[in-house]
């Protein structure tokens, strides 16, 4: 898999983790279970900033722009379609065994696409 694509997927999952810990219902449940520790959210946000620096400016910019617009910048391809907007993706790309070796974006919504291995 393309290294930048891997980093973008990891950044997406880190953003979901931060958003979840900021959600009232999840935080409440984690506090009740003794899983929530003070300062976790701040530490994750710092880690995110550090992590962002390892992603090329072009892809980081696109990721941030897509996240602001849609809430999610990276989506899987499902049955040849973009899981974000359900547009059918080009057959040539979908059938390429090395499709994850470069970063592809949805021709309609522009989201970053990956194919599950």
């Amino acid at each position: 898999m393309n290294k930048q694509l891997e980093k973008l997927i990891s950044l997406h999952d880190l953003d979901v983790m931060i958003a979840d810990l900021d959600r009232k219902d999840i935080r409440k449940r984690e506090i009740e279970m003794g899983l929530h520790k003070d300062g976790v959210l701040e530490e994750l946000k710092e880690l995110r900033e550090e992590y962002c620096k390892s992603i090329g400016r072009k892809w980081r910019g696109l990721y941030n722009q897509l996240t602001r617009h849609y809430g999610n910048a990276v989506v899987p391809a499902l049955m040849g379609r973009c899981a974000g907007c359900l547009t059918r993706l080009p057959t040539a790309v979908c059938s390429d065994p090395d499709r994850n070796m470069k970063i592809h974006t949805c021709p309609t919504c522009g989201r970053i696409i990956y194919w599950a291995d």
Partner: protein, 146 residues
Amino acid sequence: MKYTALCKFELSATSREEAIAELLGLFPVGERSQNLLAGALDIREKVGATVVHNTIVLPHCRSILVDKLTIAVGRSEAGIGWPKNRIHTVILFVSPVRLNAPQDHTRFLSHIAGRIKKFGDRIVAAETQDELLDLLGFQHEELEIR
């Protein structure tokens, strides 16, 4: 409601990283996805270990790399250094990132919290895989070889 879970009753791992990798090895995803999930779970454990009931740990996250709630349960007689606690039961789960997934994730957290509160000591002392999964309210999931 019974959740389905993958299970490895006798983990060989001795460290947190090894235990996470061993349980992710049961997941029906490729090696690259396993490595990315391990990274996300490790970050969460580093900033705040998810240890409950002294010897039970709940490494978890939500990820776009899974398309359904995937649970893997492991047990170690000898214990796993987590690193400050000695862990005997690992309940690892990854929820998908979907519109209704935060609610599903919270519902599952509630389920597992209830089970640990009610059966914590029995979960730690479970002698068989079936007993452990039954106490957790899980059904054993058999995966087809891909």
